[in-house]
């Protein structure tokens, strides 16, 4: 049972959050220009690393704001949370 740091509301129980999967996967500039394979990769393919993963979360039961987090999928530990418009932080 994680305690997740909402960038606005502070630490809250995991149950208040909605998981949004891999972060930094932008909607294609021009979907029509993509071939079926490229489009399939946007629609269905997401990274699934064992270890550090930049993810999207939303504080669904709180301020309803989306944010990004770098979390270790092996230990579940959150290493940083940041606003959606910020780049993925460099973690040593």
């Amino acid at each position: 049972m994680q305690l997740i740091e909402c960038p606005w509301c502070g630490p809250r129980e995991e149950v208040e959050f909605h998981y949004g999967g891999q972060a930094h996967v932008a909607y294609p500039e021009d979907p029509a220009a993509l071939d079926d394979e490229q489009w399939a990769h946007y629609v269905f393919y997401r990274d699934n690393p064992k270890g550090r993963f930049a993810e999207r979360w939303s504080h669904a039961a709180g301020c309803r704001r989306w944010f990004n987090a770098v979390r270790d999928t092996a230990t579940y530990r959150f290493e940083s949370v940041y606003h959606p418009d910020q780049p993925k932080p460099v973690i040593p």
Partner: protein, 415 residues
């Protein structure tokens, strides 16, 4: 050694003994015709059928930990084939037929108990989806029936079928041939047969990379040295992405924690298997008398083989709501596995960008029940260099064409 496989064991029964010898612990050879990555149920079954059906025995099964220590040791052992779509019911029904002869095939008391599975319907839409699935099952030759609440009570008297609960039971689908088996016995049965056939089961052997030559993989690098391979089969379930990342291609799977639990040993109260999607619980009473239960999948990606406790608490609420007599049963042990889920809740099996690498993943919560079926189909695929008809619809390229086999909506209960 084979016991009665059609009924749950008697009160207080202990489990049948395992044989005196299971497997060697060989050192890996320099080279094998086939290297199977993943010593879980699917990998071991693939090895067994390679030897049994195709005479291919120069095979290694590489396991990073202990044999069948992943999802095979962590699932709730439900076996059924009442899936909605033709493609799904075909592979699962093929598997179920193999289950029915597996105790003899393996010469191992796998305790396959065809006690039937009830999938409860709690809403009008559940009912529609259930009847749709039952009618499809019938036309596909899968035993299935729709049962009204009073029949549900007859099949499983402890289910709360009163109308005044929050989500009343409006009926259920019932597959009489479905049931459960003892997972360790199944895995060890396959392992022993594979070992007898001369196949090397190599534990504590983690794959760390692959040696490739163009479109072929020539060697598998492991914590116990590099092993040359003619053909490679990836049967690593939740860790598939870790391997495909090494190989430089992607598969659309996400690995999530899935938890399960058992109670103490109890006198028989639950003669069948009950699953409820709407209130998220599935439960059977295993051979020794313990209640075995599974929950919903944790929302986030996770390789930790553990989940969050609120999932368990919610599951207990559902269990007590559906089975009031469970109130003072005790939670004895909880654990978690890693399920590899795919976008359409169907497996991904078959070819990869490498000519001699075959993929088997994405089974989500369906992996255990598919064990013999997919083992047979993978062995065939490897032996013929050609996807078995049962797995052809589950090829990776369906995500490009859009020809998915979407078991989400209609298969209702996805476990």
């Amino acid at each position: 050694m084979t016991g009665d496989i059609t009924r749950p064991r008697t009160p207080g029964a202990d489990l049948p003994d395992h044989p005196d010898f299971l497997w060697r612990n060989p050192e890996p050879k320099k080279s094998y015709d086939v290297v199977i990555v993943g010593g879980g149920g699917h990998g071991l079954a693939t090895a067994h059928y390679l030897a049994k059906n195709h005479g291919i025995t120069n095979v290694a099964v590489l396991e990073k930990g202990w044999l069948a220590g992943g999802n095979m040791a962590r699932n709730t052992t439900i076996i059924r084939s009442n899936y909605l779509w033709d493609e799904s019911s075909a592979i699962y029904e093929h598997s179920l037929k193999l289950w029915e002869g597996l105790e003899e095939d393996l010469g191992y008391p796998i305790l396959f108990s065809q006690r039937g599975v009830l999938n409860l319907a709690h809403t009008l839409q559940d009912v529609r989806d259930s009847i749709r699935r039952v009618e499809a099952n019938k036309l596909n030759g899968v035993d299935a029936e729709w049962v009204e609440p009073d029949e549900v009570r007859k099949i499983c008297p402890i289910v709360n079928t009163s109308a005044d609960i929050r989500y009343p039971v409006m009926g259920a689908t019932y597959q009489p041939r479905a049931g459960i088996a003892k997972h360790d016995y199944v895995a060890w049965g396959f392992a022993r047969r594979a070992d007898e056939a001369g196949i090397d089961l190599i534990q504590d052997c983690e794959v760390t990379g692959f040696t490739t030559d163009g479109n072929r993989v020539t060697g598998v690098q492991t914590s116990r040295g590099t092993i040359a391979a003619g053909t490679v089969a990836l049967c690593a379930a939740g860790h598939t992405s870790v391997l495909t990342d090494m190989l430089g291609f992607r598969v659309p799977v996400q690995s999530h924690p899935l938890q399960a639990l058992v109670s103490e040993l109890l006198e028989p109260v639950h003669p069948t298997v009950v699953m409820s999607n709407a209130v998220h619980v599935y439960v059977s009473q295993a051979h020794k008398g313990e209640l075995v239960m599974g929950a919903g999948v944790d929302s986030y990606n996770g390789y930790g083989q553990r989940g969050a406790f609120h999932i368990i608490e919610r599951q207990m609420a559902a269990a007590v709501e559906l089975f009031p007599v469970f109130a003072r049963a005790h939670l004895l042990r909880t654990w978690g596995g890693i399920v590899d889920t795919s976008p359409d809740a169907s497996p991904i099996v078959g070819r990869t960008p490498y000519d001699n690498v075959y993929l088997n993943c994405g089974w989500g919560t369906g992996g255990f029940k598919a064990t013999p079926g997919i083992g047979d189909a993978m062995a065939h695929t490897i032996a013929h260099g050609e996807p078995h008809p049962y797995v052809a619809p589950f090829a990776l390229d369906r995500f490009v064409s859009g020809a998915l086999v979407d078991e989400h909506g209609a298969a209702a209960v996805a476990h």
